[in-house]
Subunit: 299 residues, 2 copies
């Protein structure tokens, strides 16, 4: 069972509206009393997303920032409230738990939103030899608000739109980027406020897996200029395509807005690289090059 198969099982068992109200985008969207909200849940799990060597503050930071990055992806939704669900075992010590929550608290102070609640559960531990290492599991759910005319989904792209990515791609695990990245909330809010982005998502599973997802939701294919893909120093284009956890924005811009957007971007965000890596094309044309790889925790 890979992630896509699992998603199909869930969709069959729980008929739900298509994104942006249901499954298929970075966050879910709801409207209540004429106000719009986005919702997200995301887990970080010991051995998958961090190890017990990782400083607790950075574990907490990562857990929150992954959700912030998804709020950014919807058009820079404004973080309101977060809940933390923690599952732990007896080998997870007070000092670690405390530092994780400090990291959560410090990160919320940086990017906005409040920790309003949560819960803690304990595994039922069975004595085995060697002892079973039940992993620490931190699940963060977040609520953010957005004006509906600022909402940017994966669906809004059109043939001819230019494809952009922020920053550089292909961060190696050793770089600790996955623990210290900055969610692109400000940039996403700026793009949404100026109506520059027709479609947007964050890059968490690698461009090779994520770009086809955006294209599928926008009913488009893509033409990539591989030479323009911004690689982190020390990584090659293949790594930039396939490594996950870059947490940069992938977005599309109507061709008539490209010049104005790029010029203003460099004034607004002079230190953050922006790369035009290709364009969306109609389904009549094949996507090129065909992308493979990317990160799937089920493989």
């Amino acid at each position: 069972m890979n992630e896509a198969q699992l998603l199909r099982i869930i969709q069959e068992a729980c008929p739900s509206p298509p994104a942006p109200q249901g499954i298929g985008d970075d966050c879910a969207t709801i409207t209540n009393h004429a106000y719009d909200y986005v919702l997200k849940v995301d887990s970080v799990i010991e051995q998958v997303h961090f190890t017990l060597d990782t400083p607790g503050e950075l574990i907490g930071r990562k857990a929150i920032c992954r959700v912030m990055s998804d709020f950014a992806a919807m058009g820079g939704a404004m973080p309101l409230a977060f809940l933390v669900s923690l599952t732990l075992s007896s080998r997870h010590e007070e000092a670690l738990i405390s530092s994780i929550y400090r990291g959560i608290s410090q990160t919320l102070a940086l990017f906005g939103g409040k920790l309003v609640g949560g819960e803690t559960s304990h595994y039922k531990e069975i004595q085995t030899e060697p002892p079973t290492l039940f992993p620490l599991n931190i699940s963060i759910s977040g609520l953010a608000s957005i004006n509906s005319d600022r909402l940017v989904t994966r669906q809004g792209g059109n043939s001819g739109d230019a494809i952009f990515v922020t920053g550089e791609l292909g961060h190696l695990l050793e770089s600790q980027h996955h623990l210290t990245f900055e969610p692109r909330l400000k940039q996403a809010q700026w793009l949404a406020n100026h109506s520059y982005a027709s479609a947007m998502m964050d890059l968490s599973d690698g461009l090779a897996m994520d770009l086809p997802r955006l294209c599928q939701q926008s009913d488009c294919h893509y033409q990539l200029n591989l030479a323009n893909i911004p690689c982190v120093a020390g990584s090659n284009t293949n790594q930039a395509l396939s490594l996950g956890e870059d947490y940069e924005l992938l977005f599309t811009v109507p061709s008539n807005l490209v010049d104005m957007m790029t010029k203003e971007w460099h004034q607004q965000f002079p230190k953050l690289r922006l790369s035009q890596i290709g364009e969306l094309c109609s389904l009549d044309n094949p996507s090129s090059p065909e992308l493979k790889g990317g990160w799937d925790c089920f493989n």
Copy 2:
């Protein structure tokens, strides 16, 4: 580390406002654009809250109903949207996952609210002999709306208020009540709409653990009439006090409203037992009898 100690660690690491905006009630509460919302996250974990012998539909039902029961506890908040975070291992099969989501979907159809999103993660599995059994972990986060003048917290009780519980207490694990219980949403809404309940919570860890929590938030002590505690057939008063997972409402009513409330209750809910089990008293008096026990997954 027991649950109370863990909560103190979290509160120290994450300074947050007191309930109802922060830690200390069944749900967290936020206000946005002058509308009030309650938020809740809750996990059910294999071996702790269910086993793989449990039908998947009932696992899904339980996961949702635990959150619904907390929405009830806040004054019958109206369920809006739910997210499901699932962590699984390779031994958890498609048919099980599918039936859990069917249970979630069917339960939402009964009690309200929509499944709008979620995520799935896979444990990093290590080959051991015997194989490590990583538990299925289902974390549900829910958002509900409530009018602020209908919000009932644990804080509103006053000396002299009568203490009530719905239904019967002391369900044994074998009874499957923990899988099939009905969250008391309707009853809680009725109590809140008539301003009968001064304080309320749901009984998930046993009266012996939960009543002192309500009293602490209301700055009161309690006087219990043990003979009035409604025991499930086959359970005794000790079991009714100490067994968790009853999911009944515990609430307090100002003494001048008791007669009217109980009379109307029996008309509204003729089939659901209602028991007056004691009253709140001032901190000058000791709580009596002193309660011990209740369920703490950390012990």
